[in-house]
Symmetry: C3
Subunit: 286 residues, 3 copies
């Protein structure tokens, strides 16, 4: 640890600030981002760290697109429920970098599974305000959103079959084991996982399965209370086409949104999953 | 896991919606619950899931009364501190299904132990607003609430004796072990558990001991950061007359309020407690 | 546990109330603290517990100064992000007991590391409002705050060297091991810990290293999701001049702000750290 850091690390701080500011301008759509003016009289260094570290270091990394980073932010901040002003900023930011209103709404609905109804409702309240305030209503066509995006009513048996198929595709053995382990104590909770989480939510259109698993990994990392579920969904992300680099990148990204402890504990989960898959590629993969 | 699910699971989705809507109308006291109108233009499916899953599946379950479910909601949402709009809704809902203002206030005071003074103060702020806005003031007689509900000042020795008796009744050996383990490192914290948590709070009237333990299990499950304490209070709930079914039901209920990871991790704690009591019925029971 | 409690515990409740009220008056700067009037008509007992337990028991303890307790409160409430009204109260309280605006701002910036950018930004929003509302602007000279408090731009190599030196001084082997363990999976996250957390944040002036570690221990205890990091920073606090008594006192103090489970789990971490240092004084110390 005492050797000179790698090339990337020799970047001067002015470069980090400049590239961070350019990215923040792109995301915010504002040549003078509000964080600069609002902190100028009380904590200009906090604005500078946000730009240098949050945008110049973290956002500037390759490995995830701006679109993916914004979906991750919306997932994490909706799940946390403690950062409405920042959720508002990043819903606007998501629209600015090409995420559609439908994808934003889907990401918030997806959080039902990880953080419950209140978190999803409060996230949707912020989204509604952002959509209503956007200058060009044609950018946020609410008409499309007012239609249900799922197939009409079916029996719970249909939902169970559809959910079981989705569970197997996404989480493989890890997900099945979670449900099986509930049989002796809370079988209905296991049934809700299949019918609701996978039959209703994961089976929706509007986001790819990979985007859904990016959102799940983001939420479980940010919450910090869901280590077993984080491991299941790191498996899931890898099972639906995500790479180990994307897992690590998603967790690293959250340093800026939930702090270093959340990210470090997320990496601990990733390390365990990677080791498990190395030790038993067949079982872990599916 | 591939067999056809049980009878309950073959319920059609329209049945789930209809029975969910009827329950939501009862709790909200509103024939057109606000969640339907407020989400109609942006995410009608989120409203539908809230009704189908939140009310048609979860709330509709036997095993806990509507009254108990509302007390659990107030405990969990007060402890989380991230869902003021939903806490407001469920304080109103509690009044609508027959919970008294006194019981609501007691539940929020009980959260002092599990989430600290800020959570209790912020929960009480919401309760005060709800009580003030109710159409019929006679339904929420604040006069009664303005009187202290506990015996007048006594010495800490009295509080210690009273707390120790309550601790033994409620949490048996599990609680005593927690306090004993603090003797060598933070004996005053152990003393506060006895004097304050049990001598002051658990010894209050206004809720039964079983209701207090339902609230404690709800808070520890929802927070997700209190696994050791959740185990102690699952023992506690069983010790004061709760059944294993009620433990599982309380945790399952919280799926809708804190997400599946919180509920799954709660079930893990319940499984450990049940196994411990099966292995050693005498010690675990008391 | 059945013997008569120690002398402190025989304090009468009226004494606890009186000394608690005197302390609350000092912190709030108000002869009739708002918590009394605002709860009088709905939950007078909640006000009484806040005074008796929160101030008469906890705040009245020796072991930490009022200044330190207020810095701990600001750290914990900023990190939690669920208690804006109480954060506002305690920023005012900190100013009332002699904490400077600069120290308050530094404590909130320090939370970048433990709870991310949104928590720090929302904490700073509260601080800005408090500073603006104070009766005597000369008490809160924002002019000083509007200047950056760190040395001007340097290369990342400089930041890395400075951060590595700070990491070694503060967290000794525990911190180095965290960074080393990231080399095979997320080396850039390890680099950010050194460059950003230690090179940028811990290397700032405005708070002593001991005050920074008090804030870190407070944040990790209150969050309840950062047990490994809490252990690292308990080591850190001891390494920069804190005593075991101050560790236990900081964690005990948080009972009032984050509840008993958070404090109990914090004590579990402290017990592990103390045992590790007793077993291997050389390694653990540095």
């Amino acid at each position: 640890m005492s050797e000179t850091p790698d090339t990337a690390a020799t970047t001067s701080t002015s470069t980090r600030y400049d590239r961070g500011l350019a990215l923040l301008q792109e995301v915010s759509g504002d040549p003078v981002p509000a964080v600069l003016s609002s902190l100028a009289d009380i904590a200009p260094d906090l604005a500078r760290y946000t730009i240098e570290f949050g945008y110049g270091d973290i956002y500037h990394r390759p490995g995830l697109s701006l679109r993916q980073r914004q979906l991750i932010n919306i997932a994490a901040l909706t799940a946390l429920g403690t950062a409405a002003p920042q959720l508002r900023f990043h819903i606007n930011g998501a629209l600015n970098v090409g995420v559609t209103p439908r994808e934003i709404v889907e990401t918030i609905i997806h959080m039902l599974v990880y953080a419950g109804v209140p978190a999803a409702l409060n996230g949707m309240t912020v989204a509604r305000e952002v959509f209503a305030e956007r200058p060009s209503p044609e950018q946020t066509p609410l008409g499309d959103l007012a239609r249900s995006q799922v197939r009409p009513a079916q029996t719970s048996e249909d939902r169970y079959r559809r959910g079981l198929a989705a569970l197997k595709e996404i989480d493989g053995h890890a997900g099945e084991q979670v449900v099986a382990a509930l049989q002796d104590i809370a079988p209905d909770l296991g049934r809700y996982i299949i019918e609701f989480s996978f039959g209703d939510i994961y089976s929706r259109t509007g986001l790819t399965l990979k985007e859904r698993e990016l959102a799940s990994v983001a939420a479980c990392t940010a919450l910090g209370t869901a280590a077993p579920q984080l491991r299941v969904h790191i498996h899931g992300l890898l099972n639906v086409g995500g790479s180990r680099e994307e897992v690590v990148e998603t967790i690293t990204h959250l340093t800026g949104y939930a702090g270093f402890p959340a990210a470090l504990n997320g990496i601990t989960a990733a390390r365990e999953v990677f080791a498990q898959r190395d030790a038993d590629p067949q079982t872990a993969g599916r």
